[in-house]
Symmetry: D2
Subunit: 156 residues, 4 copies
Amino acid sequence: MGAADGAPLHVGNAERAGELFARDGWVVLTGGRPFGVMEAALRGAKKVAGSLTIGILPTAAEVPSPFVDVAIRSDMGHARNNVNVLTSDVVIACGVEGPGTTSEVALALKNDRPVILIAPDAAARAFFSDLGRGKIRMVATPEEALQVAVHILDSR
Amino acid sequence: MGAADGAPLHVGNAERAGELFARDGWVVLTGGRPFGVMEAALRGAKKVAGSLTIGILPTAAEVPSPFVDVAIRSDMGHARNNVNVLTSDVVIACGVEGPGTTSEVALALKNDRPVILIAPDAAARAFFSDLGRGKIRMVATPEEALQVAVHILDSR
Amino acid sequence: MGAADGAPLHVGNAERAGELFARDGWVVLTGGRPFGVMEAALRGAKKVAGSLTIGILPTAAEVPSPFVDVAIRSDMGHARNNVNVLTSDVVIACGVEGPGTTSEVALALKNDRPVILIAPDAAARAFFSDLGRGKIRMVATPEEALQVAVHILDSR
Amino acid sequence: MGAADGAPLHVGNAERAGELFARDGWVVLTGGRPFGVMEAALRGAKKVAGSLTIGILPTAAEVPSPFVDVAIRSDMGHARNNVNVLTSDVVIACGVEGPGTTSEVALALKNDRPVILIAPDAAARAFFSDLGRGKIRMVATPEEALQVAVHILDSR
């Protein structure tokens, strides 16, 4: 998860994370639109042969990112963010720069889904440390995110 | 909007805000459950003769707060937070203590709804100042919240 | 419930039903758009002083019927039909002429809400008799619909 | 699409259709629960090596059919039927025996998705012939359904 107009750091992390997770056999799911962090994660995943990407689109008719294998057409606007996080075994945000990503991190916590933030800035780090009460992991790189995510699934 | 297990400060502000807004002729809408900030705002509103309260419930069958006049049964879980904010002319949060309220503030911003935070703590103030880019107002009391909300509607 | 381009018989029944139910103290809820059966039911209700009407709109920004007192903005497209029926104590359809109304009657049954069809045509009568297995009442007039609806609530 | 407690004819058709469509390279999507027509279509599809199945579940936590490859957790109750049909290139119903399937066929029409009914009974045939105004195809077998579906996609 991340901003449609994400900063280069976060877009780069998303592409790297998409590739790493796909290579490890994960299905990569995003909001499915052809922009920013969303698309970068999908593009990274599709560098891997045999990978599978899912995009959950907010509207009924829009064109998904070309890196989406299966487009779910929710037609529920930003409420689809709740479906994104419920469907995810682990929710990973590359930066928390905008309100869409903030809503996804918050909805993930509300639904008891594990959350990993890659390279959050200081304000996000402070706010979500309070809010997450230990349930949000903060890491510096996509490589660490994968390690933590694998550990989370293994401990279930 | 606010936490189901909100701190006394925020619950008190919610009750006062509910009463003030109802007295000024506003319809008061919350998540409709019989807890915390949600219920306090409704209870405040129902002190006013002729007031109207709406509760948008997350599930199909739960019992709403007794201070709800019209219960909308969404059966869409926490995605109903998106309906809450879309339906509101102004979104007012009494504290941003939990992930549900955070998701509502974030979804309100994402949907371009005006947001007023009453008495946010320092971490919320810092995080949402960045995120809101001038679109979130922060006030200290319910009385100020009403003044700001009336001004927002008048300037449309 | 009923078609946005409903036949005159059904639009007339909706207006009469809206007025009768409002006069009996019911809140009248429809899909909220300014067309056909939806609007007629609201217009009928607003002939009654002190009546309350709710419109659950499919999108985030559209203009509701002027006869809507409280517009709920779902932004969930035709999925809002599920919210319409879940929120209703009794679902009343004036004709089942189009797919929107058909989906509402079907979703009402699926959610165990009581359904009354006013003046269904022969094909609808045959199909829903099978589907409803006794849970759908079919009546000829708005007056009968009110009698049956009051009886349903009284028997709870 | 079809009933969770579907008749043997329709369950058999669903399994055959799932297999035929998967063999032809289609992604097979259902409501994802481990019952009736839904599960049969998925089971049929998973007989084919390399097939992909999607299940869009109504709630947040339920266990999907073991024949679901990717479970989308909507937590929007029966409103998820709207997501099912919006996401489908062609909606195929094996019987229209219950209100869930009826709502899906109706929502597909409302959203302008092509619909094929396999072996509908007489009442469904009469009702949906009127409702569909030429937009619903009715066929006797899964083999015909595949032919018609391929033709629909080819004519786009």
